[in-house]
Amino acid sequence: MTGALLKYRGFIWRRALLDLRLKYAAADLGVLWNVLHPILLVLIYTFVFSFILRRGRADGDVPYWLFLCSGLLPWVAFTECVTQGARGFQRAAPYLRRLAVPEEVFIAERALSATIGLGISFVVLLIVALFYGLTPTWHWALLPVALLLLQGLGFGIGLTLGTLCVFFRDIPHALPLVLRVGMWTAPVLYPASLIPERIRPYTLAHPVTPSMNLIRALFLEGVMPAWWLWLLCLGWVVVSVAIGSFVLKALRSEIRDVL
């Protein structure tokens, strides 16, 4: 699989950038929307939680809106990865039916475009945070790694679901529900410290929890997360991509028959 992704890397990049461009193709502001979207999202949360709900501190001395955005933006990109991946083969059906392009290329393209979107929105968040007065630490330099680990997991899950969706068309309908459950069971909207102490270790079994903890620790707390937390994240990526590759390998010969 790595071979195919490497061979088609240029294509994946161009298609991913195209995705971002065409997402707002009909709009006057076009590509700008990719930046405007996260800015507006961050501003809305800032406004609501600073002035209306006056939900001050979530964890330590970080304002809630900042905490929220630091979890929500990656989560949004992650779900994009998963849902777009799940629909990836069906959307690429016109190509798959008549070109010998390897299947995984189309999932990678979706994952990459979601990741580029995440990169843009997180940069916006960093800038807003600087304006707010958050002091940057060297830990910020590790943020891309943490975000990429989360997106890697998204790619693995997207690859698995993408293959399965070709055969079972119910999955895309069930997916939003499952993702909603996933969001509330992971510390995305609330800090991990709110979880009762005795069940907190078990929450690490949630594939997204370790990444969320990594991102928060690096971005908001300025501490180096424990090595095993990194390893756990990497483990999830490896496992999900391995499952995705296995499912694809097992069903590859039939995908184009069914599409």
Binding site: Y8, Y95, A100, D170
Partner: protein, 417 residues
Amino acid sequence: MSQAPAIVATDLRKTYRVYKRPSGRLLEWATLGRVTRHVSFEALRGVSLEVPRGQCLGVIGPNGCGKSTLLKLLSGVLSPTGGTFDVRGRVFALIELGTGFNQHLTGSQNIDLASGLLGLDPKYVRERKDQIIEFAELEEFIDRPMRTYSSGMRARLSFSLYAFMEPDVLMIDEAFSVGDASFREKSYELIERMVGDEDRTVVFVSHSAGAIERLSQRVVWMEKGQIRQVGDPGEVVGAYLESVGRGRAQASGPIVKDGAPIPGADESFHNAVGDDEPLRRAWIELKPGHAAAQAPAYKRFVLGALARAPGAGPSHFWLEIEDESGALVAQADSQRLGQDPAPHAPGAELVMRWPWRPVGIGPGRYRARFGIRGPGSDTSGGASWDAGWFEVEGSRVVDSTYHVLLTPRVHERVDGR
């Protein structure tokens, strides 16, 4: 031809599993295949073929015979259920033309993007871009979004794109059912050049017997997922056309003494200019005796001709129909159709009536050529007469085209009839 063949396929098979409902597949997985919930459909049942470099292989056959499946297997789009194949060099397969382009991008951007789809270096494509655009005759439109293109324009762009990427093996599936005659002609010439001068290999799948016969050095006739006949284009295409026609042929003797009256000069699309011209008249009849100015598309009609035989009988008769690009769209021969040679007096005026059922023939201008020859297999003592153009009118409803000529009825002219 000491080189290794460009394409070798051995016993290629493709079986589709058809599930009534997706849960059937789940059940099979859960029981590790002990429960069967699918019906197998064998699209390809053991096809073996070999194509030498620098040849065009034509593939012909009725719908659903496995032509497209074969192409998709050879180009790597589908994986075979059984058998092996080897295609040497860079392979491009043009399957279902004009799709796969992004509607929002311009033609030019789509060309750039296609390099990725074909796994090519973008620079490689850029260097050939001007050629592609010029050949596709899209200079004016190339910076407009693809959604403003007509289906013909899309087809032109995709064919040009593939043809100029210098593939070692080019596979084309029904590429020219859209698009105008002049572009088709240009494309045929390009294919002939690629095969003849550049030693490239082409696999050409089409319903058009004329195109197949013109472009191919060898033809495979497929039926029900198997090769029914393979060999010389004229032979195989002829046999194929006969097989399609014979099923619907009307029983009729070679000579009908009491034929219907022949139409007058004003009702014919061809009239002899001088007394010397052997082809006196050619016309269209909706049924014998009822002349029409134009033939109806997709319907049965009769092509009639009155001609003076060059010699003594008995004779066989033949008819060829070409479209505007010069491609042979239909042909028939009374001998191939199993008729006995028709006896007639030397220099007799003969009335020929060819019931023609152009299955799927679109409207347009077609040229008819009537021929006569002696009873032997040699063509000596024969003659042929160009009847010029006639029109087929109607709306285009079917994109794939093959033509069926039926057994002709020929008789000597008696008392103006």
